[in-house]
């Protein structure tokens, strides 16, 4: 028998369905023998940059960690910073943060629906999803002043109060979104072409998922009800009434379905929070731009749209952090789970596996 060498082909970083992520795939015919991820195209050195900026200046910086889910990057950061700075947050500030964080989750999941349906060859799904994203971005703009980068949470609360007609505006947008969710069901989730490409592809068992460091919807799709919002409630999640959607199968389709159901749940959380929101101050005025921190170490985790977003922060008594370590959810998704699931899969299934994990290349490299 003649020994034929395997083919090695690159996936990304300039591939329509890879984002800015590079992986080299070794192929035996149509089967993937090995997938070597090669991140680093979006490395900007956040952890080092944060050491040179004050606690206030870091808040606009951490937005850039993950472009699609900036609210949770900020939420994790400000909570960790508040522990070091010893600052209390007024109740209203916590409510506003919860509402905006859930809005960020919806934004991220809708973008996921759009990108995934585009990658799987369904362009109209992408158009509708990005069309739905626009009204939500307009709300974001109205509240925070920025379309994509909110720069909204600071240690001690939020920077602005909610606008006057915010609940009505939210109702209007959510009613439209609810109608369009039916359209997604028809167009994307009940679509035969999407189902064939995503069902029984990239199956992850619960134990494997935990071993590989999966969090968020990827872990919940395997059937485990693991969510930091319930397990270790932060902000005001303990006062709100909500469910955690899970799926059983753990394949690419159930990971998507988990996100689809989370959109609805997030809308319920926002509606619930808007009813319970108290009056009063929205930020703690004790926090000044150059407030000095305690000599202390802290660790804080929050449940972002993709999984656990964690910050380990060390304060040294000055107005700048001594060291910050960021744990992004996408790191384990694209460096541990992706190569594991890609092994022995067909080359044509690679985009479906990759996007069903919903990694953010910007978050992998940081």
């Amino acid at each position: 028998m003649i020994d034929v060498p395997f083919f090695t082909i690159p996936f990304g970083p300039c591939h329509p369905s890879s984002g800015h992520f590079h992986a080299s795939i070794t192929l035996d015919g149509e089967r993937v023998v090995e997938l070597k991820p090669d991140p680093g195209y979006l490395h900007r050195g956040f952890e080092k940059l944060m050491e040179y900026r004050t606690y206030l200046q870091n808040s606009p910086l951490v937005d850039r960690i993950c472009i699609l889910d900036p609210f949770h990057a900020e939420l994790g950061y400000v909570n960790a910073a508040e522990k070091i700075l010893d600052i209390e947050v007024p109740e209203k500030g916590k409510f506003i943060r919860t509402i905006m964080a859930e809005l960020g989750r919806i934004l991220s999941h809708i973008t996921w629906i759009g990108v995934t349906s585009m990658v799987l060859g369904l362009n109209s799904g992408c158009m509708i999803a990005w069309g739905d994203r626009e009204p939500l971005i307009r709300i974001n703009e109205k509240v925070t002043g920025g379309r994509i980068y909110p720069c909204y949470f600071i240690p001690g609360g939020v920077r602005r109060d909610l606008p006057e007609n915010f609940p009505e505006k939210i109702d209007e947008v959510f009613n439209r979104l609810e109608k369009n969710l039916e359209q997604y069901d028809f167009l994307v989730f009940d679509n035969e072409t999407i189902r064939v490409r995503m069902e029984n592809v990239g199956i992850l068992e619960t134990e494997e998922a935990i071993d590989l460091g999966a969090t968020g919807p990827n872990l919940r799709a395997t059937g485990l009800k693991a969510d930091l919002r319930k397990d270790e409630p932060y902000e005001v999640y303990d006062q709100l009434d909500f469910d955690i959607p899970t799926q059983k199968k753990g394949d690419a389709f159930s990971r998507g379905m988990c996100r689809r159901l989370e959109i609805e749940e997030s809308m319920n959380i926002i509606r619930d929070a808007l009813q319970k929101i108290p009056g009063g101050e929205f930020k703690n005025k004790d926090f000044k731009p150059f407030t000095k921190a305690k000599e202390k170490e802290t660790y804080f985790c929050c449940e972002s749209a993709r999984g656990e977003q964690c910050y380990h922060m060390v304060g040294d008594g000055t107005d700048k952090p001594y060291r910050v370590k960021v744990r992004g959810p996408s790191f384990s998704h694209s460096l541990a789970e992706f190569p594991y699931l890609a092994k022995n899969a067909y080359i044509a299934d690679i985009p479906a596996i990759y996007w069903s994990l919903d990694p953010c290349p910007a978050d992998v490299d940081r």
Partner: protein
């Protein structure tokens, strides 16, 4: 159920009678939103030259320059990340964010806004 699924694609016909969701950009643009973080506007009379804006700027985009006998901010909008920390921390509210977003130019020097240019509406 099956029939409903079969007939669903025909719903698309109604899109023919719908207005477009997009705008013809250079001619018309989305109206600016109140409190939008666009470029800064300086009120020179209010400015006391304390330099808080330049100290709080995360990107070092602001330098204090001499202008009409006092210190005033000069902003490099190429470096600016439009976080509005300068406007928020201004003790006299001399710096404010406007909804102006069309600030592109043909030259690199266009991005540097000296106090005079910054005060123009």
């Amino acid at each position: 159920m099956y029939l409903r699924k079969l007939l669903q694609p025909f719903k698309l016909i109604k899109n023919l009678y719908r207005k477009p969701m997009t705008l013809v950009f250079p001619e018309e643009a989305l109206p600016p939103i109140e409190n939008y973080r666009g470029r800064q506007l300086l009120d020179i009379e209010k400015c006391v030259g304390c330099g808080m804006c330049s100290r709080v700027c995360p990107n070092d985009a602001i330098v204090m320059v001499d202008f009409e006998g006092k210190k005033c901010p000069q902003i490099h909008l190429g470096k600016c990340c439009f976080c509005a920390l300068c406007a928020e921390n201004c003790p006299t509210n001399a710096l404010q964010m406007t909804g102006e977003v069309f600030i592109a130019g043909y030259d690199r020097s266009f991005a540097v806004f000296d106090p005079e240019k910054l005060a123009k509406k």
